[in-house]
C-alpha cells in the first residue's frame, strides 16, 4: 500500500503541466454534482409512469436446444398477469433486431435475432417467453408457470471444438461456425521468420469476462395516444437506437422518442442490440400501458466479451529488434447477438503491431460462434486483445535475449519524429512521444531501485514482480456502413437572460463529459459555468448524434460544441461592438462581460447584449440577427474510408497511449497476487479537465486489473453459467488495489480542433497487460511463463505446476 505522500507526489508532477486561466484545462468539479450527492439524480429505474406495468423474461435453461412447444396458458391466468408472449408469436409484432455492426457489412455471416427465440435457442439465458404483470413480482412468479418443451442438443462451448471438421453447425443455414475471418497481412511473415536470429512460438489465452456497471440495464416503452412511441432506457446511443427500433418495429423514426436518463455506468454494456429493447415496445403495445423491464444481476452476467486465444510466432534479432509477427487469433463470441460485441475481435487483430515498428506482420482473427452467451462491448472494445498479447511478446523477447524489457521497448517503439505513422494494418497514428513517456515511467517508479529491491527479495525467497507495458488506444472510430459514427453534433443556445443551454448528440454514461462540454462552451462564450446547462440523451430535443463509445465524447461532441459556441460568441461580440462603439475584434468575452480589450471600464454584461439582440433587433441597425442559437457538427481529420491499394481503411482520427508499470508480490503457495504499486504515464492530447481524465484512467486501470486478475465468466460442461452473481464474478474492491500514481504527458493531436485524443478506454488494456507481465516477472525464478488471463490464484498455481513439470523451463 502506498503512503499518501507518494500519491501526492505523483499528482504533483501532473499539476505542473496544467494550463492556466479559463475553464478548459482546469480541474473543474462536476457541474451538477449535488444532484448525485443528495440522491436526486434520476436513473432509469427511478422513472415511474402512470399505469406502469412490469415485464419479466423466461430464459432458456439449455445452451443449445430446439423449442418444440411453449404453453403459457397457466401464466396467462396467473394473478396480476396482463399478457404473455412467446417466440412463436414474436414475428407477428417485430422484425429481427438490427445489428449495431452487421458482420455482413464486412463479408461475414449474419443471423436474424428476434427478441424471443423463435424455434431454436443458442445460449443459456436466451429469452424464450415474456410476461407482463401489475408488479415485477407477479411477472416473475408467472414465469414458473410457463411450460417449454425442448429438444436438447449437444452444446458446443469451445471455439476449437466449433472449428473441428464435422462439428455440428449451430446456426441454421450456415456452412460452418465461423462468423468471419479477418486477415491483416503486411510482408511475407514465413520468410521474415526464417531469416530472424530467433523465433519464439507460444500461445496466449484471454478468458471470458464481462463489463458489469453497478447499475444494470433497463428499458421501458409507452405508446402515446397519438400512436408514437416513447422509449426510456439505461442506454448509451439514443439516436442510433431510435433508428433500430424503427427498423425492427416498422414505425417511422420520427414517431419514436428515445430518452436516456442518467446512466449508472455504461462501459459498453449499454450499447444496444439486446433482445429486451424491442421486446418492451412490443409488450407495451399488447397491454396498452407502459411496460418496464429491469435487468437482474444474473441477467447482466449472461453477457460476456473478449474470450480469445492467440497462437503466435515472433521473430527477432540479437539486438532486440522485432522483425516479424505471425498470429492466429480465435475469438469465441458465443451466440452471435445484434449488439456490437463481436466487433471487438476485429479490433484485437487490427491493432497489431500497436506502437512498435515491426516490418512484417501476418495477423488474422477467426470469429467463432458457440453456445456460450453473447458478447457486448466491454470498455476497451477489443484493443485489450492486442495490448496484452503484443506486450507479452515483447517481454518474451527480452527474457529470451537477457535484455531489459525497457530497452527492448525503446528499441522497437515508434520514434516521436516519425508521426503521423502508418501501421501495417493501415492505421495512421497521429502523434506522440512514446520514449519520453517511458522515461517518465522509469523515473516515477524508480525502476532501477525496484530491480535492486526485487533482487534482494528474491534472495529471501519472495517473489516481487515488475510489469511494464505500453498501451495504444485508437479512439473515436467511424465504421462505414454502420451507426458507429466519428462525427457528432452540438447545439448551443443563449437566451435573452444570457443563460446558455448546450444540447449534445453525445451522452454521458457517468464520466462527466457534460461538465467538459460546459467548460468548453463557457470559455468560448465568456460566461461562468453556473450559467450553463447541458441536455443530453433525448432524441426529441438533442441534435442527431451517436452517443457514447470509443472515447469519442469530447473529440467529436466537445469540438462540435466549440464550433457552435464560437458562432454565438461572434454574435455577442458583434452586438457588444455596436453598443460599446468598438471594433468586433477588440471585444473580449469573459466573466459574463463583453469588454473592450485594454479598456476595462468599457464593458457591458453579456446578458444585456443578448437581451438587446432579442428585444431591440428592429431598433438598432446592424445588430446581429437572432436567435442566439447554432447547431454544428464536428468531423475530425485523419479518418480515411477510401480503401488504399491493399484495401485498408483508416477508421480512427486519434490515438491516445499510456505507459504502465505495476509492482506485485506473488505468493507461490496460494497463487495470490498482491498489487503494491501502480504507475501510469498517459497522453490523451489536450486535457479539458485533468481531474476527470485522472478519474477515467484510474477507473479504467482498476477495471483492467480486475479483468486481468480475478474476473472470469465460467460455464459448466452443459453451458450453464457459473459466474451468476458478484460472489462468483469477482470485481476489484478498494482493498485489492493501491492508489494510482499518474503522470500526464501532453502531445496534442494535430487532427482534432482542440488537440484532444479521447480518454476513458485507455487503462483497461494496460491493466490487463501489465498484470500479466508483472506476475510473469515475479515468477520468472520458478521458470513460469504466464499464458492466460486472469492470473487468478488457480491459474497462477496451474502456471507454477506447469513450469515445475517442464523442469523449470517455462
Amino acid at each position: 500500500m502506498l503512503a499518501s505522500t507518494e500519491l501526492q507526489e505523483g499528482r504533483a508532477i501532473a499539476a505542473t503541466e496544467a494550463p492556466a486561466g479559463g475553464y478548459v484545462g482546469a480541474r473543474e468539479t462536476k457541474h451538477n454534482g449535488d444532484l448525485f450527492l443528495t440522491g436526486r439524480a434520476a436513473y432509469f429505474n427511478d422513472i415511474v409512469l402512470p399505469k406502469m406495468s412490469h415485464a419479466a423474461v423466461l430464459r432458456s435453461p439449455h445452451a443449445h436446444a430446439r423449442i418444440k412447444s411453449i404453453d403459457a396458458s397457466a401464466a396467462e391466468a396467473s394473478a396480476g398477469v396482463l399478457a404473455t408472449l412467446t417466440g412463436a408469436q414474436i414475428k407477428e409484432h417485430t422484425g429481427p433486431i438490427p445489428f449495431f455492426i452487421d458482420p455482413a457489412v464486412f463479408g461475414g455471416k449474419t443471423r436474424d435475432n428476434f427478441p424471443l427465440a423463435v424455434d431454436k435457442v443458442l445460449m443459456t439465458g436466451q429469452p424464450v417467453a415474456a410476461v407482463v404483470a401489475e408488479t415485477a413480482a407477479d411477472a416473475e412468479a408467472a414465469l414458473d408457470l410457463i411450460k417449454v418443451d425442448y429438444d436438447v442438443l449437444e452444446p458446443i462451448l469451445e471455439a476449437d471444438d466449433a472449428l473441428k471438421d464435422g462439428a455440428p453447425i449451430i446456426n441454421d443455414g450456415w456452412d460452418d461456425n465461423v462468423v468471419i475471418t479477418l486477415p491483416f497481412v503486411e510482408g511475407d511473415a514465413e520468410a521474415a521468420l526464417a531469416e530472424a536470429d530467433h523465433v519464439i512460438e507460444d500461445t496466449f489465452e484471454m478468458h471470458r469476462l464481462s463489463t458489469q456497471p453497478i447499475e444494470p440495464r433497463g428499458n421501458m416503452a409507452v405508446w402515446e395516444k397519438d400512436g408514437s412511441l416513447t422509449f426510456y432506457g439505461s442506454i448509451q446511443n439514443p439516436h442510433p437506437l431510435r433508428l433500430h427500433l424503427s427498423q425492427a418495429l416498422g414505425v417511422s423514426e420520427s414517431a419514436i422518442r428515445v430518452i436516456a436518463p442518467f446512466v449508472g455506468g455504461g462501459l459498453g454494456l449499454k450499447m444496444h442490440g439486446h433482445p429486451e429493447e424491442a421486446l418492451v415496445c412490443v409488450l407495451a403495445k399488447i397491454v396498452g400501458r407502459p411496460v418496464k423491464w429491469l435487468e437482474d444481476r444474473r441477467e447482466t452476467l449472461l453477457i460476456g466479451g473478449i474470450e480469445q486465444t492467440h497462437r503466435f510466432k515472433v521473430g527477432f534479432n540479437n539486438d532486440g529488434q522485432i522483425v516479424a509477427i505471425h498470429n492466429r487469433i480465435v475469438a469465441n463470441v458465443g451466440m452471435l447477438g445484434s449488439a456490437p460485441g463481436w466487433g471487438m475481435a476485429f479490433l484485437s487483430a487490427l491493432g497489431f503491431p500497436s506502437g512498435y515498428k515491426v516490418p512484417v506482420t501476418d495477423v488474422s482473427v477467426q470469429v467463432v460462434s458457440t453456445n456460450k452467451g453473447i458478447w457486448n462491448a466491454t470498455r476497451g472494445y477489443g484493443k485489450q486483445g492486442t495490448n496484452v498479447v503484443i506486450e507479452r511478446m515483447v517481454d518474451l523477447v527480452a527474457r529470451h535475449l537477457g535484455m531489459d524489457r525497457i530497452e527492448v521497448r525503446r528499441k522497437n517503439m515508434i520514434e516521436k519524429d516519425e508521426f503521423p505513422y502508418a501501421t501495417n494494418s493501415g492505421l495512421n497514428i497521429d502523434s506522440g512521444d512514446y520514449h519520453a513517456a517511458l522515461d517518465k515511467l522509469e523515473e516515477l517508479l524508480d525502476y532501477e531501485g525496484l530491480k535492486r529491491e526485487q533482487a534482494k527479495l528474491r534472495e529471501e525467497g519472495r517473489y516481487l514482480g515488475i510489469g511494464i507495458t505500453f498501451e495504444l488506444t485508437p479512439e473515436s472510430a467511424d465504421i462505414p456502413g454502420t451507426i458507429v459514427g466519428g462525427f457528432d453534433s452540438a447545439q448551443v443556445k443563449m437566451d435573452p437572460s444570457g443563460n446558455v443551454t448546450i444540447l449534445s448528440g453525445v451522452t454521458t454514461p457517468g464520466s462527466g463529459n457534460d461538465t467538459g462540454l460546459a467548460q468548453i462552451v463557457a470559455d468560448e462564450v465568456g460566461v461562468t459555468i453556473d450559467r450553463i446547462s447541458v441536455i443530453q440523451g433525448d432524441t426529441d430535443t438533442c441534435p442527431y448524434g451517436f452517443g457514447n463509445y470509443s472515447g469519442r465524447s469530447i473529440v467529436s461532441g466537445g469540438n462540435s460544441a466549440v464550433l457552435a459556441a464560437r458562432d454565438i460568441g461572434e454574435k455577442i461580440r458583434g452586438g457588444a461592438a455596436l453598443l460599446l462603439e468598438a471594433g468586433d475584434e477588440d471585444i473580449e468575452l469573459i466573466d459574463n462581460l463583453a469588454r473592450v480589450a485594454g479598456a476595462p471600464d468599457r464593458a457591458i454584461p453579456i446578458a444585456a447584449v443578448a437581451e438587446t439582440i432579442y428585444t431591440l433587433n428592429f431598433a438598432i441597425p446592424g445588430i446581429p440577427e437572432p436567435p442566439l442559437e447554432s447547431t454544428r457538427v464536428y468531423k475530425p481529420d485523419n479518418i480515411r474510408h477510401t480503401p488504399d491499394e491493399k484495401g485498408r481503411i483508416q477508421p480512427y482520427p486519434t490515438y491516445s497511449y499510456a505507459m504502465h508499470g505495476v509492482v506485485v508480490e506473488v505468493d507461490p503457495e496460494t497463487g495470490a497476487v498482491d498489487i503494491k504499486r501502480i504507475g501510469i504515464v498517459h497522453d490523451c492530447g489536450t486535457m479539458i479537465n485533468p481531474l476527470f481524465i485522472e478519474g477515467q484512467m484510474a477507473g479504467a486501470m482498476v477495471m483492467g486489473l480486475g479483468n486481468g486478475m480475478s474476473e472470469e465468466l465460467k460455464y459448466d460442461e452443459k453451458g450453464t453459467p457459473l459466474s451468476t452473481r458478484f460472489k462468483a464474478y469477482l470485481m476489484p474492491r478498494a482493498g485489492d488495489v493501491p492508489a494510482v500514481e499518474l503522470v500526464h504527458q501532453i502531445t496534442p493531436s494535430p487532427f482534432t480542433l482542440l488537440g484532444t485524443k479521447g480518454a476513458g478506454e485507455a487503462g483497461v488494456g494496460g491493466g490487463m497487460s501489465v498484470i500479466a507481465n508483472a506476475v510473469d516477472d515475479a515468477l520468472a525464478p520458478l521458470g513460469v511463463t504466464i499464458r492466460e488471463l486472469p492470473v487468478s490464484p488457480p491459474n497462477v498455481l496451474k502456471a507454477i505446476d506447469e513450469a515445475g513439470s517442464n523442469g523449470g523451463r517455462g
Binding site: 500500500m1 448525485f36 429505474n45 463489463t211 456497471p213 455506468g265
Partner: protein
C-alpha cells in the same frame, strides 16, 4: 396481492406510515413506497452496497432486510444526508475530490465513510479502503473515493 401490512417508521427525521406487501425488501419499500429513489439496487445479494442506508445508527444493506423488519426504526437515506439543505462536509468533499463518476455507488460509499469517520476521525488510507471494501464501484478505481474521505476527515479535524 398478499395481505398487506402497515409499516410505521421514521425516515430522514419524518414519521412515515405506509401500507406494504410483507414480502417486500426494505430497499424496494424505500424506493417505491417511501419514494426515496436515491437508494439504489445493484445486485440484491448484499455484494455491491448501492442500497446502503442507516438504520438506528447502524449502516445496513437494505436489500438484505425485509421492510417489515424496519417497524419502528429510524432510517436515514442518502436524501437525508444534507444538513438543513446544505451538503455535509463529507458530501462536499466527495464533490470537490471527484469522489464519484456515475454516482450509482454513492449510497454505499457515503454511508460507509460516515460510519468510519464517526468511529475514527483521522483514518489512514488502509483504514479507509477497509471501510469501503463492502461496496463496489466500477467507475472510479476507488482512488478519488479514498481521497474524498481523507479530505472530509481533514476538514472536520
Amino acid at each position: 396481492m398478499t395481505n398487506s401490512i402497515r409499516l410505521n417508521l421514521t425516515v430522514n427525521g419524518e414519521a412515515r406510515s405506509v401500507e406494504i406487501d410483507p414480502r417486500r425488501l426494505l430497499v424496494e419499500v424505500i424506493r417505491e413506497e417511501l419514494e426515496l429513489p436515491g437508494t439504489h439496487i445493484g445486485c440484491l445479494t448484499g455484494d455491491c452496497g448501492a442500497c446502503t442506508v442507516e438504520r438506528d445508527g447502524q449502516i445496513i444493506k437494505s436489500c438484505l432486510a425485509l421492510a417489515a423488519s424496519a417497524e419502528g426504526s429510524e432510517i436515514t437515506t442518502i436524501e437525508g444526508l444534507a444538513e438543513n439543505g446544505e451538503l455535509s462536509t463529507l458530501q462536499q468533499a466527495f464533490w470537490d475530490e471527484y469522489g464519484f463518476q456515475c454516482g450509482y455507488c454513492l449510497p454505499g460509499m457515503l454511508f460507509s465513510a460516515k460510519d468510519l469517520l464517526a468511529q475514527n476521525a483521522s483514518p489512514s488510507e488502509d483504514e479507509i479502503r477497509h471501510a469501503i471494501n463492502g461496496n463496489l464501484c466500477r467507475c472510479t478505481g476507488y482512488d478519488t473515493i479514498v481521497k474524498s474521505i481523507a479530505e472530509a476527515a481533514a476538514r472536520t479535524a
